[in-house]
């Protein structure tokens, strides 16, 4: 394992120190428990908090700032943070208007965030959770842990962040959050495996001519292992998986988010995006907004994910609203 780190045990804290140094105008970092909060003191509307294991940067710590998250709770690499860290983020940011916790659907994340929410509620705060489970690679069922939360998380955080920023109350923020969750789906594909620092070995083996179709963001297995194919076929297959699941219909308006899993360069990510746009056009679907780049990654894993969000007028307005965070910024 070659990485630019000092010690696997301190990698998250060391990286947060760099984040804090790089963006003193946007974020403030507290350590042990590790929490990233806005550097400004926003008016006390609804607070939007998210978090989860580290290793998916810029998610979530890079999305703290006006128009998006009020607080982010980074766990160890690929490990959910504990409730006390979530509670620290709640205490640091939440007032009478309450807080919405954006939680990716992994048992550990769900349980730790719910525990924190309960403890906060016990202290009289109105804290609710929305669980995002947009990964179509995993069979869904109420009898299982359900689908994983992946790329849709980025779009959800932007949109609810904008709703909170414009002053919506917690009911309204929660309602738009649920609408996003209902209308967003994703699929990922991996060309290589990530290496968790404290493990030191790649998380899985993949042949020189294979891709893992339906990969999760921690290198969890997907639908199937397939031979490498030209980008047009691979991306076409990804669009079909997502569009069929939503399902998308001719005339729908969507946001297309083409995400690099970390190790895939922008050259290829844009290339994939172009194919995705054409595949959607072929289905009569109109892409009205787009996001392209490494926004929810899996360390240095090579691969991409596609996320499609069916848009309505309000979501579009909230997407366009100004945002000012380390990783996503416009209008400010």
């Amino acid at each position: 394992m070659k990485k630019i780190i000092n010690d696997p045990a301190t990698v998250v804290a060391d990286s947060l120190a760099g984040l804090a140094a790089a963006h003193p105008d946007l974020v403030r970092v507290e350590y042990d428990p590790d929490v990233v909060v806005r550097a400004d003191s926003p008016a006390r509307g609804v607070s939007i908090i998210s978090g989860g294991g580290s290793g998916h940067e810029p998610l979530h710590v890079g999305f703290v700032g006006p128009g998006m998250l009020h607080g982010a709770v980074p766990g160890a690499v690929f490990t959910s943070p504990t409730p006390d860290a979530v509670q620290a983020a709640i205490s640091a940011t939440t007032g009478d208007a309450g807080a919405l916790l954006v939680v990716k659907n992994y048992t550990g994340d769900v349980l730790n965030f719910e525990t924190a929410a309960e403890l906060a509620s016990a202290e009289g705060l109105d804290v609710r959770t929305v669980v995002i489970d947009d990964d179509v690679a995993v069979a869904d069922s109420t009898f299982t842990a359900g689908r994983r939360g992946v790329g849709g998380t980025v779009l959800l955080e932007k949109i609810v962040g904008a709703a909170a920023e414009r002053g919506d109350d917690l009911d309204a923020v929660e309602a738009v959050a649920r609408r996003v969750v209902e209308n967003v789906r994703s699929i990922g594909v991996a060309l290589t495996a990530p290496t968790v620092p404290h493990v030191g070995e790649p998380s899985f083996e993949l042949g020189d001519d294979e891709v893992e179709f339906g990969i999760g963001i921690h290198g969890e297995p997907g639908r199937e292992r397939r031979p490498v194919e030209p980008a047009s076929e691979l991306v076409g297959r990804m669009v079909a998986a997502v569009a069929d699941d939503l399902p998308l219909e001719s005339g729908d308006e969507v946001l297309l988010f083409t995400n690099s899993m970390g190790g895939t360069p922008l050259l290829e990510t844009y290339l994939a995006h172009g194919i995705g746009e054409r595949a959607l056009a072929d289905r009569g679907v109109t892409v009205v907004r787009r996001l392209v780049g490494p926004y929810i990654t899996s360390l240095e894993m090579q691969g991409i994910s596609l996320t499609i969000l069916r848009m309505d007028e309000e979501m579009t307005e909230l997407w366009d609203a100004p945002v000012r965070t380390p990783a996503l910024r416009w209008g400010l």
């Binding site: 766990g75 160890a76 690929f78 490990t79 959910s80 943070p81 504990t82 409730p83 006390d84 992994y106 048992t107 550990g108 349980l111 730790n112 719910e114 525990t115 995993v138 069979a139 009898f143 299982t144 842990a145 994983r148 493990v199 999760g216 921690h218 969890e220 297995p221």
Partner: protein
């Protein structure tokens, strides 16, 4: 949980209740068990999870032993509550909140009593199970720690007037059988569930750690 300071022997333990110190001793023993089985639990978590269950529990119970070495709270309930909060804040992952909730509910169940009796131990076990199920929504057969804990609670409740030692021994036996039962199952909760059919043939790490915990409590109470 036996031998409360004085050397009362196991027979006495069976009729006498457990003090706060007894509960603390049992939890320290559990920390030793988790340290000893850390590698085994992590290895069980490797093929069907993310290879951290032993690390997670060892981190949490080590912290708990540390906290208990500073001061042992006054009542058994308070000791259990300390276990809950420590595990919740140190274990992380799925197991942290699940075990944490179990201890929290157990603490509530035993209330302010100075000693635990056969009845309160049964109530504590039942409350712990209810907490895990409320939190994790797993049923028996989903290949989780519930497959060890649920039969343990039933076996404990079936013990009639045997004292704390007999209750815990029955629970430990049932938990071990329950843990074994997860091997042929398709996991339906937790990380292993993403594997679908590929989770068959693996012992669930959380079920195994539950069995280890209950066996340790029973041994201390022997």
């Amino acid at each position: 949980m036996g031998r409360s300071g004085q050397d009362t022997g196991s027979a006495l333990g069976a009729v006498m209740g457990c003090t706060a110190n007894d509960v603390a001793a049992a939890l320290r023993a559990a920390a030793d068990t988790m340290a000893e089985h850390r590698g085994e639990l992590t290895d069980l978590d490797r093929p069907i999870g993310d290879a951290d269950h032993g690390e997670n529990l060892n981190r949490g119970f080590t912290a708990l032993a540390g906290a208990l070495s500073e001061a042992v709270p006054d009542t058994p309930g308070a000791v259990l509550k300390l276990a809950a909060t420590t595990l919740i804040s140190k274990v992380g992952g799925a197991a942290g909140p699940l075990y944490g909730t179990a201890f929290l509910r157990a603490a509530t169940a035993v209330g302010q009593a100075e000693e635990l009796t056969e009845a309160t131990v049964k109530a504590a076990l039942r409350a712990g199970l209810d907490g895990v199920v409320a939190r994790g929504k797993a049923e028996v057969g989903d290949a989780t720690m519930v497959d060890a804990l649920a039969p343990a609670v039933e076996a404990a409740e079936a013990v009639d007037d045997g004292g704390v030692a007999a209750v815990l021994a029955a629970a430990a036996d049932a938990a071990e059988r329950g843990a074994e039962s997860t091997t042929p199952l398709v996991a339906r909760k937790g990380r292993a569930s993403y594997l679908g059919e590929r989770s068959v043939g693996h012992l669930d790490p959380g079920a195994r750690s539950t069995a280890l915990l209950l066996r340790t409590f029973a041994e201390v109470e022997r």
